[in-house]
Assembly symmetry: C2
Homo-oligomer: 237 residues x 2
């Protein structure tokens, strides 16, 4: 199967959770919008009058005749096909539940620098962003990451989030740790004292051969201040 | 199967999307936290040291030995069991995708009155809320509801969101229209001129016998200013 991934070409953003899964599995895929003319093709799916089931927003994945939107939904679909999902229904529901909680956290991260409107520039909502960032650093980061830390702990000795093998959830948690370290280096340094398992999971994922090759390649877009994880020192307290 | 629903007892909130599905299907369930001692039972799942797979937050559903969290995940699980999901994998992915977009909208609705922090009172972020509400009314409501309107249109003549029968997505869209009419009556009056199919779907869902009985019962908690849909006239422009 040749997958087509549609996502903004200059940021990691929500597309990165899909890229990590495809790359780790060694799947064949085209990152469509990053190729010449790919943006037009992406807009055709979003706005074309003849598209019966248009996604609300990128990322979306074309797999054969299916066009699947919503990051967590794409991973729900891809997980078993890429060997990155657990086997039983109960475990798959749990993995999806964790992924949806990752998605909630990702949404909150993007709200930190855009608490008023996604359509406005950061500079137009900087004052509000500072207020929001304080709550995010002090309460939300430890609440979310503490929750994932506990999930890994209670999963047993494997060090993974679900079962005894890596799943797409672990790849997403890797990305969360990487991104938060980029955006909030000072706050993360403090919080990570209590997040040993999450940090160990991050390290374990980073050394998976195909993933390590991807991270070292030009296909991995560097973090930047157009994406979701943004390094604004004034928001790091 | 006797389901146990765990959710805050005094608001509709995110639990309502589950209640609507259970009620419409005539399923047997206990709304645990609304019963005596139920709050303690709910907290035990959230914070108990022996819970292996604790939900991050309510709502969650106990079904036999399974404890399932995240509203959209619960509906993914319940849908087929309640006769409220389409049959094919492609249709189920599409229904889930729409539900996740509903969840994104619900999150934005709660952000309107709490743009800085969920832990602060509305009065402590009223100025920011006013700014955010303007964007929400002018851009976000028409973008989201226009998207759902188009999805219903492109689904064909049934008037439903997915296929030829009502699914949990239609029940959730009913709730979205009801809630937004409650919270933003003036803005909705303007927008609804272009949302004929969504309004017709709302009316069709409201007359389903079991749902109508539920809505008229004391089990349906009235909208109030502790929930997600809040009527603050200053935010309705």
């Amino acid at each position: 199967m040749l997958y087509e991934l549609y996502y903004w070409p200059s940021i990691q953003g929500r597309g990165e959770y899909i890229r990590l899964a495809l790359e780790d599995a060694g799947a064949k895929y085209i990152d469509v919008a990053r190729e010449q003319g790919g943006m037009d093709k992406m807009y055709r799916f979003l706005e074309g009058p003849s598209v019966k089931r248009a996604p609300y927003a990128p990322p979306f994945l074309k797999s054969g005749n299916l066009v699947i939107g919503q990051t967590s939904n794409i991973l729900l679909y891809l997980g078993p096909r890429l060997g990155l999902a657990p086997r039983s229904e109960a475990d798959r529901l749990w993995a999806h539940q964790l992924q949806l909680t990752v998605a909630d956290l990702v949404e909150e991260i993007s709200e930190v620098h855009h608490p008023i409107a996604g359509m406005l520039y950061y500079e137009q909502q900087k004052r509000e962003a500072k207020r929001r960032a304080e709550d995010f650093r002090k309460r939300r980061i430890p609440k979310y990451l503490g929750y994932f830390e506990k999930a890994i702990e209670r999963n047993g000795r494997s060090g993974y989030a679900v079962g005894n093998r890596a799943t797409y959830v672990d790849l997403s948690l890797f990305q969360i740790v990487e991104g938060l370290r980029y955006a909030f280096p000072r706050a993360m340094k403090r919080h990570e004292r209590k997040l040993k398992r999450l940090a160990a999971l991050r390290d374990k994922i980073a050394t998976r051969p195909r993933l390590a090759a991807y991270l070292a390649s030009e296909r991995r877009i560097p973090f930047n201040e157009m994406g979701i994880f943004r390094r604004y020192p004034e928001l790091d307290g």
